[in-house]
């Protein structure tokens, strides 16, 4: 969630009230934003000999792009409190009637196909407003625009430029200009090199670096306005005294480019001589049928059902009540003239988050007050509680192991490839372990296929504990499964390890016997077979298992309803395994697939 810092005094002046921190916190809570910090009582930094004014740091939910700046927060809170209504944004043609155009060249399809734009004419910026304007662009770049990959904004002093504009895509060496706040002209290639080490701009270079053509916007005099998504030209730089602002936004996504444009102009058109007016720009882009006039600030007309809203909220509001509440949430709403169950709702151009009447319904609930809603308990329908059979089985094993004196541990499911294979003297034939593509550390390379690495690491970290250490885990491992939709499957295992001065082989064997007894599985010795047992198990030497000490490993066989399978293994761990896990006493370990007992 983005956090926006606003000037406390200025915000309270806008809202016409001096709130206490607690009062303002409650207002935020009710609306669904969060007061993170009030810096009034803190040691604030001193800039140019002046201490920073007290700020409110407010967390904005990720869908409210219209509240990413001071102007948006104050406007929405004022509307919410009924102090004003949602502004009526208007497009106004330039005095000479000639709308500026941006002509899009087809080559831009190769790198960044969409552009939108607008002009804020006769704007009255101040230093604070200018800073807010820049900060909003930054927030939009970070959030909605996904670090400038999806959209990139350029803002210019229109009085330094001369339309019409063109949006082109050219080889980097063909583009020459002085980047913002620089003095030296450079071409595209040099520019990439120049900003390679730059902390703030360096991270955007990858978006275009390897493309044969770079996107660029020119005015009619071939002045470079910007090289999106990296940097604007220095020539058209705006300042607090700029009167006419030309905005261009390039994008990969044609929905988001308009959202960004609408937010920018809606927030800052309040500072034009005639507030809330915007001068449109014509985009000429026939090759991809994107020729149009932008921005489109017409509210989106939609409808919401009275019954739906009341049913979801558990209320019985009249259409007029609902309309009043929607007005407080920045809509324009009126009861439908044709259908008593419908409400005509105009969604303002700033509310791109409203997709469905569910969003409108939520806004009614917010305006009503979540904490004021009549509370009920959903108890109409009876349902039957039921545990997952596999978890019930696991719990039996867990409880029996604990009752037998063993301690349950919960190591991690992800581990390194070595821990899962090499350190256990196991070979990876590529058919078992699921591999991660983007782990941040080598500790998380694969999903474990065995519970043993986790047990051994737990013992390694607990060497100070008195011996013997007796630990177990009942949990899932995962394997590749090419025939399944997700190409992998989990398997529930039970594993235990003994760590002491002697090997503990019989002790681990005894634990196995105990668990098997509790699962009603009878032991069959080689000599005397038990008759009429639905489930039986026996062990056979596992002669060829390098994880274990030679001659001291056993396969666990289970026969259930005449179906025989090997479900696990136990034995004394091989000393080379102990060495890898930095363990100095012998370990006997056991691992069984418990799913066969379901």
């Amino acid at each position: 969630m983005p956090t926006i810092a606003v000037d406390k005094a200025a915000l309270f002046e806008e809202l016409g009230k001096e709130y206490t921190t607690q009062e303002f916190d409650e207002l935020c809570f009710e609306f669904g934003i969060e007061l993170d910090e009030d810096t009034s009582t803190q040691d604030r930094p001193v800039v140019n000999g002046k201490q920073e004014a007290p700020q409110l740091k407010i967390e904005i939910p990720a869908n409210r792009y219209d509240m990413l700046c001071f102007e948006g927060i104050s406007l929405m809170l004022k509307i919410f409190q009924g102090q004003t209504e949602s502004p009526n944004y208007r497009l106004v043609a330039p005095p000479d009637g000639k709308v500026q155009t941006i002509t899009v060249k087809e080559e831009t399809s190769r790198i960044r196909p969409y552009i939108s734009g607008a002009i804020l004419r006769n704007i009255n910026l101040t230093q604070a407003r200018y800073e807010s304007f820049i900060a909003l662009q930054d927030k939009l770049h970070q959030n909605l625009a996904r670090q400038r990959t999806l959209c990139a904004i350029g803002t210019h002093d229109l009085d330094t430029l001369q339309g019409p504009f063109t949006y082109e895509a050219l080889p980097p060496t063909d583009i020459n200009f002085v980047p913002l706040n620089q003095t030296k002209s450079m071409n595209g290639e040099e520019l990439i090199q120049f900003y390679e080490k730059d902390k703030s701009l360096g991270r955007y270079l990858h978006i275009i670096r390897d493309s044969p053509v770079y996107p660029v916007i020119y005015d009619s005099q071939r002045t470079v306005c910007s090289l999106p998504p990296v940097i604007n030209g220095n020539h058209s730089k705006i300042s607090a005294s700029t009167r006419n602002v030309f905005i261009e936004i390039t994008a990969l996504d044609k929905t988001k480019v308009e959202i960004v444009n609408n937010i920018l102009v809606a927030m800052f058109s309040r500072y034009t001589d005639e507030p809330f007016t915007v001068e449109p720009v014509k985009i000429v882009s026939p090759h991809n049928s994107q020729t149009r006039q932008v921005p489109d600030l017409t509210p989106r007309a939609t409808q919401a059902e009275l019954q739906y809203i009341n049913e979801c909220c558990g209320l019985e509001l009249s259409p007029t009540d609902i309309c009043k509440m929607l007005t407080r949430m920045s809509y324009h709403a009126t009861p439908s003239k044709t259908d008593p169950n419908l409400i005509d709702v105009d969604v303002p151009p700033t509310r791109a988050d409203v997709l469905h009447q569910a969003d409108i319904m939520e806004d009614v609930a917010i305006a009503y007050g979540f904490n004021e809603l009549p509370r009920s308990f959903p108890s109409k329908s009876g349902t039957v509680a039921q545990p997952l059979a596999l978890n019930k089985l696991s719990d039996i094993v867990r409880l029996e192991a604990a009752m037998a004196g063993w301690t349950e541990v919960l190591p991690l499911i992800l581990c390194s490839h070595d821990e899962n294979f090499g350190w256990l003297n196991r070979k990876d034939d590529g058919t078992t372990a699921v591999r991660l593509a983007n782990p941040k550390t080598a500790e998380y390379q694969v999903i474990r296929t065995s519970l043993l690495p986790g047990l051994l690491k737990t013992i390694r970290e607990n060497k100070k504990h008195s011996i013997p250490i007796k630990i177990f885990e009942v949990s899932d491992v995962a394997f590749k499964a090419p025939d399944l939709e997700r190409k992998s499957r989990n398997e529930r295992h039970f594993a235990a390890a003994w760590y002491g001065k002697t090997s503990g082989f019989e002790i681990v064997h005894g634990l196995l016997d105990r668990i098997m007894l509790m699962l009603k599985t009878a032991f069959r010795t080689q000599e005397e077979g038990l008759q009429d047992q639905a489930m039986e198990y026996w062990i056979e030497e596992d002669a060829d298992n390098p994880t274990f000490f030679e001659g001291h490993a056993a396969k666990i066989h289970v026969k259930i309803a005449d179906k025989e399978s090997v479900v696990g293994v136990f034995g004394i761990l091989h000393p080379t395994v102990l060495e890898k896990f930095e363990l100095k006493y012998p370990i006997s370990a056991l691992e069984v697939n418990v799913e066969v007992f379901l």
């Binding site: 569910a358 609930a365 009549p374 329908s381 039957v384 509680a385 059979a389 978890n391 593509a437």
Partner: protein
């Protein structure tokens, strides 16, 4: 030695009419031996005793000398008196010693015991009383002196020193006997067999000591808390979901939940992607696995439902409808309006939430849409940078209620009951944003310790864009809520570092010594 003293104490008491004092009766035994003997007899109620702390006055070596030979001034006087013609000053040290001559001469002058006649000393009195010597001799025999002024004066002169001593006032106890009977340490089978238990004397039990540590297994504290949560869900009629599936597809983990493909949660920074196997299949029915635990309950609320044959699931249509609702809008939603990528949807991921499973369950519910309550508590994965409060793995507690006519007030009412069952009351609800729920409510509870509202969970009603492509009915609304298992456990046990709770670095002693979880006893 202790045994000797035991007998000594008992026999001393045999004849004594009044309480005896250890200091007088057993002066040669060190105090710790006396103490041990009296404890032994006292615990058996054979004696009663009281400890008395007193102060003793001891003579310093110099004090001893004076008590023996007289004070310096007295010795000077004696020397002078016995020299009939007077004593030359220079001869004094050779008779009484240098120290006594120096100190004693001055004091004897002050007391006007002697006079000086040129270089000769003469006695001024016939006889004197050596008070200091008398005082020191009294102290030597009684180890005390009644006049405290004298004590102060003598102490100043470093002739005496004060010592704290303990003495015991001992008398017969209710079970006094002049014989100490040998005791057995424990009741044995032999005693029962022989009947010796009737006469045997057992060593008394030390009720102040801890018992012998019992060898014990232990369950992991997180699983103990998990058990409590499961119980709460069972009490409220919930069915456990099959979450035994760590690997999910972009489709089930995100797309089906109406999380757009450019959503930050899908960043490499946040989600673990799988490199091998490389790619999933589009959603389809999997062959029943050996571990299939699906035991669908009969419809319990609406018996007429069971008459209608359950619909078969059309996965292809589901896939197409999910695409449509993202890309073009459908079901009354304008959608996100971006080109939806199949590739992105078929990427394999480690599930970032168990809501992927809830989604799968709700899609299955569309076969026979009916009221249902599901829950799960299982591991989820986030590609987080590990720190005190973040691990790449943690447990998510998740609940889902599907029913007709659900209201937002019902969700709030349900949460109040649900959290009350774990001892959390005084909730408030904040509007929030979540791509797959609308409305979304963050649940806050007042924390008495921190004196502030803390977020304890997230909840909401699933969006129509998520439910309707599944084929669920429009009036079947679905609540969903979730919280982590680790957070309440950390608060409950006062654990500050999540690595002390989950993973291989957890201290086994912590697991073994953790008390039972009783969430309702907040």
């Amino acid at each position: 030695m202790a045994t000797d003293l035991t007998a000594e104490v008992l026999s001393a008491l045999a004849t004594a009419e009044a309480p005896i004092f250890s200091q007088d009766a057993f002066p040669s035994h060190p105090p710790e031996v006396i103490k041990a003997t009296l404890d032994r007899l006292g615990s058996r109620e054979m004696v009663e005793y009281e400890k008395l702390d007193t102060e003793e006055v001891h003579l310093t070596p110099e004090g001893e000398g004076i008590a023996e030979n007289g004070s310096h001034e007295a010795r000077v006087f004696e020397a002078v008196r016995s020299a009939l013609e007077g004593l030359k000053i220079k001869d004094l040290p050779t008779i009484v010693g240098a120290e006594a001559a120096k100190v004693g001469q001055g004091t004897a002058f002050k007391l006007k015991w002697i006079e000086k006649d040129k270089d000769v000393l003469k006695a001024a009195k016939d006889s004197i009383t050596d008070t200091v010597r008398d005082q020191l001799q009294t102290i030597r025999s009684t180890k005390s002196y009644a006049d405290t002024k004298v004590i102060v004066e003598l102490r100043k002169r470093k002739l005496i020193s004060l010592h704290k001593v303990s003495t015991y006032k001992i008398s017969r106890g209710p079970k006094y006997s002049n014989q100490f009977v040998k005791e057995e340490t424990d009741l044995t089978a032999d005693m029962l067999a022989s009947g010796a238990w009737k006469t045997v004397k057992l060593k008394p039990y030390n009720f102040k000591a801890k018992g012998a540590p019992t060898p014990s297994g232990a369950l992991h504290p997180l699983n103990k808390v998990r058990h409590e949560f499961r119980q709460i869900f069972f009490e409220m009629g919930f069915e456990e979901m099959p979450t035994n599936r760590y690997v999910e597809t972009g489709f089930w983990n995100f797309d089906a939940l109406f999380v757009p493909q450019q959503h930050p949660a899908r960043d490499l920074q946040d989600t673990f992607y799988i490199s091998d196997p490389p790619r999933a299949d589009p959603p389809r029915e999997d062959p029943p696995s050996s571990s299939s635990t699906d035991t669908t309950l009969p419809s319990t609320s609406n018996p007429t439902d069971s008459k209608t044959p359950s619909r078969s699931l059309d996965y292809r249509k589901y896939w197409d409808d999910v695409r449509a609702v993202h890309q073009d809008g459908k079901y009354g939603s304008i959608g996100y309006r971006y080109p939806w990528s199949e590739d992105e949807s078929l990427k394999l991921v480690l599930r970032t939430h168990t809501t992927a499973i809830s989604t799968w369950m709700l899609h299955k519910l569309a076969q026979d849409p009916r009221p249902a309550r599901y829950f799960s508590i299982d591991r989820v994965f986030r590609n987080e940078t590990v720190d005190q409060t973040h691990l790449a793995e943690f447990h998510q507690v998740e609940g889902v209620i599907a029913d007709f006519g659900l209201t937002l007030g019902g969700l709030i009412g349900f949460m109040e009951v649900f959290f009350k069952k774990m001892g959390i009351v005084n909730l408030r609800f904040k509007p929030a944003y979540n791509p797959y729920t609308e409305p979304s409510l963050e649940i806050f509870s007042w924390h008495e310790g921190l004196k502030k509202w803390v977020e304890i969970g997230n909840s909401g009603m699933f969006r129509p864009e998520m439910l309707l492509p599944m084929g669920l009915l429009e009036d079947l609304r679905v609540y969903g809520w979730g919280l982590s298992l680790e957070r309440p456990t950390m608060i409950k046990y006062g654990v500050n570092n999540i690595r002390a709770l989950l993973g291989h670095k957890v201290d086994l002693n912590f697991i073994e010594s953790n008390p039972a979880v009783r969430l309702e006893k907040a």
